[in-house]
Symmetry: C2
Subunit: 609 residues, 2 copies
């Protein structure tokens, strides 16, 4: 070893020891003929003292930032102690040093609070990775992975690798494909997930499988998506939904303990998809704070079992509400003293194209019990009191009301809730609230094709009580306008999402394991028998040889790490991420390939003009 100790290791108890350290020059401070150097490695920073006797040698071999240095010397107590770092009580009096490698001036300094901007960081990622801020993210990622493996090992799960060169079955997202030289004209696909393989492992009887595995989706990259990403992928057999929920909330609680030293002893909350949409306008609600939606009006088919309170706002000839499909209110706690400027800003906020509303109604619930609203001429005190009561507003709160088309309005209210939560400091990065969202619809309606699409994926089972409905009925939709009356519209999935602080961190389902039901599902998605055989013949075949009941879950590893690390960006938790064009700007990939490679693969470019 080129060192006897690391730069994070030596303490007062080591004083007088001989030591050899190696690392990077963080800073050089020269005071006359004495030089102090902060030497940095993965483990910390140690101060070096070059005394007068080395001055000449240092002048001949000047040190610069990021030089790689090996020093030998003695551990001494510092006169000027630094209590901010664990090695701050000692320094090394250098007797000998070797410059192992030099560095030209880096494009940004290696410090926590300067990073040179995103473009430079990505181009010089190997320097960015030296920053403590990035290093602790990768350390956290490693700790989450380690904790996951330990927990799953203790629970009898086996890590089994599934193949990366598989078959293209474009269903949801686009596949990345790989031309096969040995099978000209044919292509492999990179897996969007190991879904069918993990199901085959269940058919094979490996009853607890997991993998921390790369997955690939060729999608246009919205902010914070990556073409390659990592999943914690798990599957179990002989289980029901309840078993999966308990097993995997256990996993997340274990990760909290191991990685954040948080005892998450509380019961993990559960909510139906319908209640999530009704109360939060969102299938991944942030339940760190209340501010529930109050549905003053909604189309009759969306929540047929909920109580209709539209009489509260009707009958006063307020056209905005009367003509709207949906009217939803929320109460912002303690905001009744918002100024006109503040409510105007919020009105502008909801009118932005990303939100797309026409306006914002407010009702101030003054501390003295009176109201002041933008709709005073329509609603009297009594009406306002009733509305405030419905939305659970207390004196001092500020009620906002949005009105418009159902989907947009619900989404907008949810966005407004999150925005206000952020503004009001209700979304604390050090508070963690887990939630299971359950009972999703199995199907969504695809208007363009007048058919069903799988909300989760085609392998998700309906609720046991809905299986008969699914098998007995023809999935074809005769009358597009009345698709909601089709029996398939009400089938619920045996699926579940885990939500952490308003982010979906994982999801899964109990799978279909009966060949007939799987065929019915494929047919419902518009796949004829030939297509079913071509794409999923192996799975249908496997289901003929004793497939057990099974189900599983997959967690987004990058996202989970970023939330645990208190960050919005998954990129900071990936060693070598790609930019929004799917490029690695450091290595400059993708790039052109040689003519010889085209020839061998028997493909050519066919670029659009």
């Amino acid at each position: 070893m080129l060192r006897t100790n690391t730069c994070g290791e030596l303490r007062l108890s080591d004083v007088n020891k001989q030591t050899t350290l190696a690392g990077w020059v963080q800073t050089v401070r020269k005071f006359g003929s004495i030089t102090f150097v902060d030497l940095r490695d993965r483990y910390g920073i140690t101060q070096l003292l070059f005394s007068e006797n080395l001055n000449e040698q240092l002048d001949a071999n000047p040190l610069g930032r990021e030089f790689v240095l090996q020093v030998t010397g003695t551990v001494n107590e510092r006169s000027n102690k630094n209590s901010n770092i664990p090695t701050g009580e000692i320094e090394i009096t250098v007797t000998d040093f070797t410059i192992l490698n030099k560095s030209i001036t880096p494009p940004f300094t290696i410090q926590d609070d300067t990073d040179g901007g995103d473009d430079l960081r990505m181009k010089y990622r190997f320097l960015d990775l030296r920053r403590q801020a990035v290093k602790k993210n990768l350390e956290l990622r490693y700790a989450v992975g380690r904790s996951t493996r330990n927990y799953l090992h203790e629970k009898d799960f086996m890590d089994i690798e599934t193949p990366f060169l598989i078959k293209s079955t474009p269903e949801g997202a686009r596949d990345f494909v790989v031309p096969s030289r040995m099978n000209p004209g044919q292509f492999y696909a990179l897996p969007q997930s190991p879904q069918t393989f993990k199901q085959l492992l269940m058919v094979s009887g490996y009853d607890r499988y997991y993998q921390i595995v790369k997955c690939f989706r060729d999608e246009d990259l919205r902010a914070d998506r990556q073409p390659e990403f990592t999943q914690i992928d798990c599957e179990m057999c002989f289980v029901e939904q309840e078993d999966i929920l308990q097993m995997f909330e256990g996993l997340i609680k274990r990760i909290f303990k191991d990685v954040k030293n948080i005892d998450y002893t509380a019961q993990v909350e559960r909510m139906t998809w319908e209640n999530a949409m009704w109360n939060y306008g969102n299938d991944k609600p942030d339940i760190r704070y209340e501010m529930k939606l109050c549905n003053l009006k909604y189309p009759s088919h969306t929540f047929p079992t909920q109580k209709d309170i539209s009489s509260l706002i009707s009958g006063v000839d307020f056209k905005v509400f009367d003509e709207a499909e949906t009217v939803i209110a929320i109460a912002a706690p303690g905001c009744s003293d918002y100024t006109r400027k503040q409510t105007d800003e919020l009105t502008e906020w909801v009118k932005r194209p990303q939100i797309g509303m026409k306006g914002l109604v407010y009702i101030k619930c003054n501390a003295d019990g009176t109201f002041k609203s933008s709709v005073d001429k329509f609603y009297n005190e009594e009406k306002l009191t009733a509305i405030a009561s419905s939305v659970n507003a207390k004196p001092g709160d500020l009620i906002f009301i949005l009105a418009g088309a159902e989907e947009r309005t619900r989404k907008a209210t949810s966005e407004l809730r999150l925005y206000l939560g952020q503004q009001l400091g209700l979304r604390k990065t050090d508070e963690f609230k887990l939630l299971w969202v359950l009972d999703f619809p199995l199907f969504e309606y695809a208007e363009e094709d007048n058919r069903w699409v799988a909300r989760h994926h085609p392998f998700t089972s309906p609720k046991p009580s809905d299986i008969e409905t699914m098998i007995q009925h023809n999935p074809a939709i005769e009358n597009a306008a009345e698709y909601l009356k089709h029996p398939y519209a009400n089938i619920k999935a045996n699926a579940y999402d885990m939500v952490l602080n308003g982010n979906e961190i994982g999801g899964g389902s109990i799978r279909i394991y009966q060949k007939e039901l799987q065929q019915k599902m494929f047919a419902a998605l518009g796949m004829n028998e030939a297509e079913q055989q071509h794409k999923f013949g192996f799975l249908l075949g496997a289901f003929e040889y004793g497939a057990p009941p099974h189900g599983g879950v997959a967690f987004g590893f990058d996202r989970l790490c970023s939330i645990l690390g208190g960050s919005e960006s998954i990129r900071d938790f990936i060693a070598f991420p790609k930019n929004n064009s799917g490029r690695d700007v450091m290595i400059d990939a993708p790039s052109s390939i040689d003519e010889k490679q085209f020839e061998e693969l028997q493909i050519k470019l066919n670029l659009k003009q």
Copy 2:
């Protein structure tokens, strides 16, 4: 859970307990109105007893092999105990049963000793995986992975994921490439290994990195190669060769202990590449047994420092030896009584095209000290005695001598040594002998291009004492005929291979970390500056910002598992392997893709007629 216990769990101590099991029907044996069923799951087999009262119900719902069954009943002591299985003292008296799924007749029975042949096994891999023989291989694989992770964790290594969509830099093997839809005309490559990324992590200061990671090579598949395979990939900085050797022989010893309960306390042997070639004709010798090669004659340049004993065989006008470039002998212990038929068979064996020799000379060292050889008319007793002494043959041994061109003869003798070792039972699957092979040549000579190629890879450092030689001399070879006189021919690499029982299980090197030396290496391999920049500009760039001395190793995970499992085939240790045409016959991949995919990727086929 659909069960309260597994099929491998219940014992005599559980008698009278109520239990629910779920699993697969292994066998059904009906004795009148009583039926015995062996129920199998991942954990074992438990016998079920269906008494008379269930007979009618069973007749109405007959059980077949591989049916998925759930039963509830009571644990009872068996009258007819089976001491071969851990559950053999009990059986479950069934009170209630549910057929969870049926199975059609499988194409082969799920037993250890029948597998239906390779084609059926691969097509029905999901059934093959149910066989105990395959399951224990995957369990061993998981155990090796787990042991690896635990050891490396304790040694402060961090698992850091490197990208799969990288840049094509075809050097050694062919890359698999992935067309980029977002960057039309450009391609990603799948990594042949994370080599450059792990080096960048060292530049970033993550001084102990590891990953168990998939790698990809588009090669024509010889037996037992896979287009995707798994590596244990490791890198360290501030180390010298000795540190790496100790760290990673520690890893393999730990795996022996954790997985095979073997205390490998012996020192791991070390051998130079030259000695391996001289003594075994092979750079990955199987040192479980002796039978060293005796070099009776060899070209003067191949082993310039070794002692020439060619006078032993010269001067008797035996043309076969006189005209041969190389003559090598080995002694097969205790084989002096081989019959003519046996020596003839061995002669045929070396004449096969795969070995390619013209014939085989033998000398029987009779137990009484006399000799009987196929070259008696050339060599007298005295000469034969001298030869026998050189090859360390004792009375009772049988000496074989091969003669011909150097490379072919050396390889053939090595093959013969391995073949005889196998025949004589010297290569025991339960004996494990590790070996480090060191001091490889840095370069090989490529005749077609009259230039150097990297024997390991272009990032391997020369021995420190050879760095000056490399930098000072022009790599160009003026006189092709005398390439051996070029100073580069004698440069040794700071590289090492780990060999287990005659298989290379891992290899690595101390890397180049100086920009100038790396450029010189690229130039030596015939890469001009523009090419260097295009392909490896990011690495050369990184070396300018304080690259530390570093080195690493990669182990072939599939191969390591197969050797530990006592098998010749890596396929048996991969859940879903591909065949020799790179096909997954179960899912039928690769396959054609849709016209829409071609359009989006802006490529088309260009099939050769």
